[in-house]
Point group: C2
Chain length 439, copies 2
């Protein structure tokens, strides 16, 4: 009966702003960062790792919030916690004083995600299985008990959720075998950052196609003439059958989004991602209606399940891009997958950043095996950044995620990595500060 | 030409949980708190004061975030800042790294509110007028320039906003004279906290009626039998012509909200406040349709202007209860008032907490004088708590806010108050800690 003995929360920041990796029309200079949580137990073989993702300043706020969120875990029995991951989620979430600062959004929610991600990682390690397997071995009732369905019962009751999951129970083993053979399909965003030159863009698109990708995503929204030229390059490299996605990172108001996307329609994008405020459900619905057959995608800033519920109710999106470190961990992610399946909207999780690819591979696999049972219209983001810092990095083969096999949620970083890039005291940042070269 | 020389941000917490003041079905034990910002200038006569409001734990997160938000102000020319309050708001708001943690919601947005509230206070002090007067002396163009209309232009363009404000320009002086005579109408929540006994509830309702109030608000949602009994007491004291409001503080899912409110319909509540998740626009619309003619009110947790835009678009609410310390200060509050007037929805600001009454009186007066030009259906919350800590506390006469006359946004606290209640190092908290009596 191991117990949680202590919690480490570490401010890890990578200097991505120096290379413009990750640059887009809204975020020109992000330093990809993680508020990284380590749950220690009195069993030296059993530790949980989790994080939320930020882009630099303010990562310290998530670290401080995660330390507060995790406090009630200290001294608790790991078997009890792992036996009721819905219960402990609800306990942490319902701290009414912290709730006031959201509810279920912003820094306190990102912090809840970091802590509960670590607890799910711990649960999978304790069971000796990768997280996707832990989830696919849970019964429909257990999954629904773990899912956060609060405020959703007007569209999906717990009983309906059980029915939905039960429908897919029979085929679970077969679908796992399929994914073992072919992997879970992904697309790459590494080619299209806004700060890259045309030559670099073309080279990266060519490299992506050569590596087996059928989808490529470009950042747009800063300058229309540039966007037309860059989309032309990408479409030329992809050929008429490849899928081009475009991503505006929220820079437009609704009328401008419609106008701009129509001006890029000749390049036949599969979707426009984040055309406007991530909070604007009715705005996305209006854009979707106006730019069809171009699809509308959003979700990386989708703050919680209540937002996604309404996105589905309003018919606002064609693709749901939930984020594994912004939603309140697996508990809330489960709810959004259930809603998406209920409304028959494909989930194509947001990834990239720090370690998000490592997390979402588990979720996408679980969705196919146990929730939607479908790969139609589904493709998970992949960005070729920072994987070297993870102990069990995701593996891509022929444009698909290979099923992870190590126990856990693939969230553990190398100690050397997080010590080097700890902010502001790690070796990397102190040497930059000494040279007066801090970004 | 004074400059901002330094920023103090102080964690002030009042021990309200000890008396159950502020208790409701969601928040049983809040310690009313403020992340309190003081902007110092090199003119010793000129200082700006502002804050955001929280209920205890996590106030430190807002303090840390406000310090980061305010950093770009240091060294800046006060005349330049006050000459373009829209510009500096947009500059602070668009820090892309902090934006990632929202956007426009949660801790980083509360912190933006605290800092910009202090800057508006500074601007009004510099002009030697109360904030409501500073605002009512701005031209329609100046107001629209200061307002945050980003993501709103699909329903309200800057030109339309100017037209709307211009319509009310002629009557401004007359309406100020009216409010000087009668004050701005308010209602009281002090009577109905959930933790109070029936006897205390009855006594407080009687006291409220005797003091001239025509509206009383009760907390509901913990236990239906209790609610029926308590509403009966309040209705009996108020008589058939008084207005009873009920407030569930988000405890229900949509179907439960509808059922519970219908069970209280016999007491003819004017509105049901916060029946469900504050993010659920379509849920509020469904509840409103089901419980009419009982009105639906929400907004104290309304995270930003994009949420309110959709509340209005969806016909989801009868009363808009914006919060002066949760929205991004006057800049975003202006946008919500403009939207509300455009959709003809009355704004009845949320107040109470720490100093919210002091702030919202200015906003309500401004709305009547310059935006809506109407008092129909409008009544501003008043809670009789913690005013003694403010240098220029609001004054209530015959159930109405008396027009403030001192320069500023009424946001300044007595130094002795914030020093005593500073957490955890103020005299109050250290003595509680010494006696091992921390809540």
């Amino acid at each position: 009966m191991p117990h949680i003995t202590s919690v480490e929360v570490i401010d890890v920041r990578f200097p991505t702003s120096l290379t413009q990796d990750g640059s887009d029309a809204m975020n020109q200079d992000g330093d990809y960062s993680a508020a990284y949580v380590v749950l220690h137990t009195d069993d030296p073989e059993l530790t949980g790792y989790g994080f939320t993702f930020t882009i630099g300043r303010g990562n310290d706020l998530c670290v401080a919030a995660a330390a507060q969120r995790a406090e009630p875990l200290i001294g608790r029995d790991v078997d009890v916690l792992c036996g009721d991951l819905g219960g402990i989620y609800r306990e942490l979430q319902s701290d009414s004083q912290l709730r006031w600062l959201g509810p279920d959004k912003g820094v306190v929610h990102l912090a809840l995600a970091a802590v509960m991600n670590a607890l799910w990682d711990l649960a999978a390690r304790r069971a000796g299985v990768p997280l996707w397997r832990l989830l696919t071995e849970m019964s429909p009732e257990q999954l629904v008990q773990a899912a956060d369905l609060r405020y959703l019962t007007d569209v999906l009751t717990p009983d309906q959720a059980v029915t939905l999951l039960t429908r897919q129970e029979a085929g679970r083993h077969q679908r796992i075998a399929e994914l073992r053979a072919s992997g879970y399909p992904c697309y790459t965003t590494s080619a299209g950052w806004l700060g890259y030159s045309d030559a670099k863009l073309r080279g990266l698109c060519e490299k992506a196609v050569a590596a087996g990708y059928r989808h490529v995503k470009l950042k747009v929204g800063a300058n229309l003439a540039d966007d037309i030229r860059r989309c032309g390059i990408a479409r030329e490299v992809l050929g008429p059958d490849g899928h081009l996605m475009i991503d505006a990172n929220q820079v437009w108001d609704v009328p401008q989004a419609i106008e701009w996307v129509k001006a890029l329609a000749e390049f036949e994008p599969l979707w426009i991602e984040e055309p406007t405020s991530p909070d604007d459900i009715l705005g996305h619905a209006a854009i979707r209606k106006a730019v069809a057959p171009i699809g509308v995608a959003t979700g990386e800033h989708g703050m919680n399940r209540v937002l996604f519920k309404q996105m589905f109710q309003a018919g606002a999106i064609d693709y749901c891009q939930l984020d594994a470190a912004r939603l309140g961990s697996v508990n809330e992610v489960l709810a959004v997958y259930l809603l998406a399946a209920w409304f028959d909207v494909p989930v194509c999780p947001h990834a990239g950043g720090v370690g998000l690819c490592e997390l979402v591979q588990h979720l996408a696999i679980f969705d196919y095996v146990a929730v939607s049972g479908s790969l139609d219209g589904r493709v998970t983001e992949y960005v070729d950044h920072l994987h070297e810092h993870f102990v069990d990095p995701c593996v891509i083969r022929d444009g698909a995620y290979v099923l992870p096999t190590a126990p856990g949620y693939s969230a553990e970083m190398h100690r050397k990595s997080f010590q080097t890039y700890q902010f502001p005291d790690g070796a990397y940042w102190t040497s930059l500060a000494a040279a007066d070269r801090l970004p």
